[in-house]
């Protein structure tokens, strides 16, 4: 075969394979939205799940998902920020730094079910917290930490050294240079990283089924005292999230309309994650222009 024909055939094959990949995504998104959206209504979004009675809303799950996400970010962001600052600004090139990096990589490659089981062992059983939001948030923190740390570290690394030198030459200490000069410049990247990791946390289920639990006791949205057992803010109550809800109704299968509810919930989940993605893109670009004053 002549080289030109081979080139044409190969290019054709590559185009085909890429086309299939794009079609798969279009099908996935299309399928979820097509089957799920007709089922999404205000009642669905605010109603509470009723396993035995046919109809079921996802109001509690929606709230739990966002609440868990917020708590997870509150716990993991400061730790990830500290770790990233250490790795990017203070760590020297030696075996200890290598060890730290390996540890973080190991944490990021652990299957989420193992992280969830560890959370179950330590918080649910050892610390006797039971299936609770706080156990779930800490398990998600373990899951989120390595990704967030790497994102923040990359954003810090992207800041030109000139900025650090300028800060130092003004007589600022290293710490103040980092906090007052480097961090603000890296902020757009850091924010994008947070939002993207939020998308992953939002859809995670395997780490949650044995930490935050698979049930959603009735919540009284009029009661905002975090210490009351029915208050939505109580961190010691079990809380089922959207992703866990999908898994549970599909593997238990007691609901007559499990498929519709899963489709609707999937659609809500996908839309939330699409929004996270767009938000990250938009905010990143906007902040970047703001800070660098470029068009």
């Amino acid at each position: 075969m002549n080289a030109k024909t081979a080139d044409k055939i190969a290019t054709g094959v590559i185009y085909c394979l890429v086309g299939i990949v794009v079609l798969i995504l279009v099908f996935l998104i299309g399928f979820i939205l097509w089957t799920g959206l007709p089922y999404v209504s205000w009642d669905f979004l605010t109603g509470s799940a009723n396993a035995m009675g046919g109809s079921g809303g996802i109001g509690d799950q929606l709230f739990n998902s966002f609440y868990l996400l917020l708590l997870t970010l509150l716990i993991s962001f400061p730790i990830a920020l500290g770790a990233a600052i250490y790795l990017s600004e203070y760590a020297k090139q030696n075996w200890f730094t290598d060890l730290i990096r390996i540890t973080i990589e190991v944490l990021s490659s652990l299957p989420s079910v193992v992280v969830g089981l560890f959370g179950f062992l330590l918080f649910v059983i050892q610390f006797k917290l039971g299936f609770s939001i706080i156990s779930g948030a800490i398990a998600l923190t373990f899951f989120n930490l390595p990704i967030l740390t790497r994102n923040i570290e990359n954003s810090l690394q992207d800041v030109p050294n000139l900025q650090r030198e300028a800060g130092m030459s003004l007589g600022l200490s290293k710490w103040r240079t980092v906090i007052k000069v480097v961090l603000p410049v890296a902020l757009p990247g850091i924010l994008t990283g947070i939002i993207l990791s939020a998308g992953r946390v939002f859809g995670e289920a395997a780490a949650l089924i044995y930490t935050a639990g698979q049930s959603s006791p009735s919540i009284n949205y009029g009661d905002w005292n975090p210490l009351n057992p029915t208050s939505p803010l109580n961190i010691f109550r079990p809380a089922e999230t959207l992703a866990v809800h999908i898994w549970k109704i599909n593997s238990e299968g007691v609901m007559p309309n499990a498929n519709q509810i899963s489709a609707g919930t999937s659609a809500v989940l996908i839309i939330a994650i699409l929004l996270f993605n767009f938000l990250a893109r938009w905010l990143g670009g906007r902040l970047y222009r703001r800070i660098t004053a470029s068009k």
Binding site: I24, L107, V114, P146, W175
Partner: protein, 306 residues
């Protein structure tokens, strides 16, 4: 003289602040390392209990094919043979990787070598979105789309290793693709220029120069994809059928380590043998994830030397 001396030898406020800052940053690192260590320690000690407390033979655990920890076998020993799940896990992982690699390579090559700016602008979000779709959603689609299709075309119940493979294929495709794109970008531009200047066509340049010089990156990407497939729990659990039997072909219900874990942990009592056996499965998972990590590290180092 005294006050000046004191001022010179005492730490300034800025220096103290700097130290405190470094301490805080260092503490975060220590915290992360503690977490990893305690995960390793706790899963290991729990996982070994099957062998140390319940005196199950290690060889039996890895070679016997009947998994029914609640009951005793003929020899009076509990039936804990984990081989079906181990094989199930490896089969879905390897098959998914085999299926995903051609697509991932084509997409990565297309994005970094063939497509113009506009093509890249379309494909980049496609990859990111595929990464972003939660695994339960993949599982749900597997349940309502892939399983019926498999049943229709290949027969059987539709639940089984084949369906698990299809679901995992879509899940690891973006992982392999995006990692491989990064290593394609690291191939120096003059490799391409030299090859094209010699009169090679684009395809010849691709497979004789570019793919060959980025082969270690490709291997790393595939291993990463396999690690993800091996550890994936819920999506696989929803479509594989959850029967802890030796896989008899690709179309009969089977089980993976993760699927047995997610369905079993809630139904067993802490400290009993059925529970301990499950923790041993978790230990295998942990161990495999460390192993995958080690391989990528090894390949990375080999690739560097060239």
């Amino acid at each position: 003289m005294e006050p000046i001396k004191q001022e010179l030898t005492k730490k300034s406020r800025a220096a103290k602040q700097d130290q405190r800052g470094q301490l805080i940053a260092g503490l975060s690192i220590v915290l992360i390392m503690l977490v990893v260590l305690s995960i390793l320690y706790m899963i290991t000690s729990r996982g070994l209990a099957t062998f140390t407390q319940d005196h199950i033979s290690v060889v039996d655990f890895f070679t016997k094919t009947v998994w029914n920890p609640g009951s005793l076998g003929k020899n009076g020993q509990p039936l804990v043979g984990a081989l079906p799940m181990i094989i199930g896990s490896f089969m879905v992982t390897v098959l998914a990787a085999l299926l995903a690699t051609p697509f991932a390579v084509a997409t990565a090559v297309f994005m970094s070598e063939i497509a113009n700016k506009r093509g890249q602008k379309i494909l980049q979000p496609v990859i990111e979105l595929l990464v972003g779709i939660p695994s339960v959603v993949y599982g749900f689609i597997g349940l309502v789309v892939v399983v019926p299709i498999t049943r229709h075309f290949f027969g059987g119940t539709g639940f089984g290793i084949l369906s698990g493979t299809f679901v995992l294929f879509v899940m690891i495709l973006p992982t392999i693709t995006s990692m491989y794109i990064d290593s394609l970008k690291a191939v120096p531009r003059f490799y391409r220029e030299a090859s094209l200047a010699l009169g090679a066509t684009r395809w010849q340049t691709l497979y004789k120069v570019i793919v060959r010089s980025s082969i270690s990156g490709l291997l790393t990407a595939i291993i990463f994809g396999m690690a993800r497939a091996f550890g994936e729990a819920l999506a696989v659990q929803m479509v594989i059928g959850n029967a802890a039997l030796m896989p008899d072909g690709l179309l009969t219900p089977a089980a993976t380590l993760t699927s047995v874990l997610t369905t079993g942990i809630g139904n067993t009592v802490m400290g009993t043998l059925p529970n301990n056996a499950l923790w041993t499965l978790a230990l295998i998972l942990l161990f495999m994830s460390l192993f995958f990590n080690l391989i990528t590290r090894y390949i990375g180092r080999k690739g560097e030397l060239k």
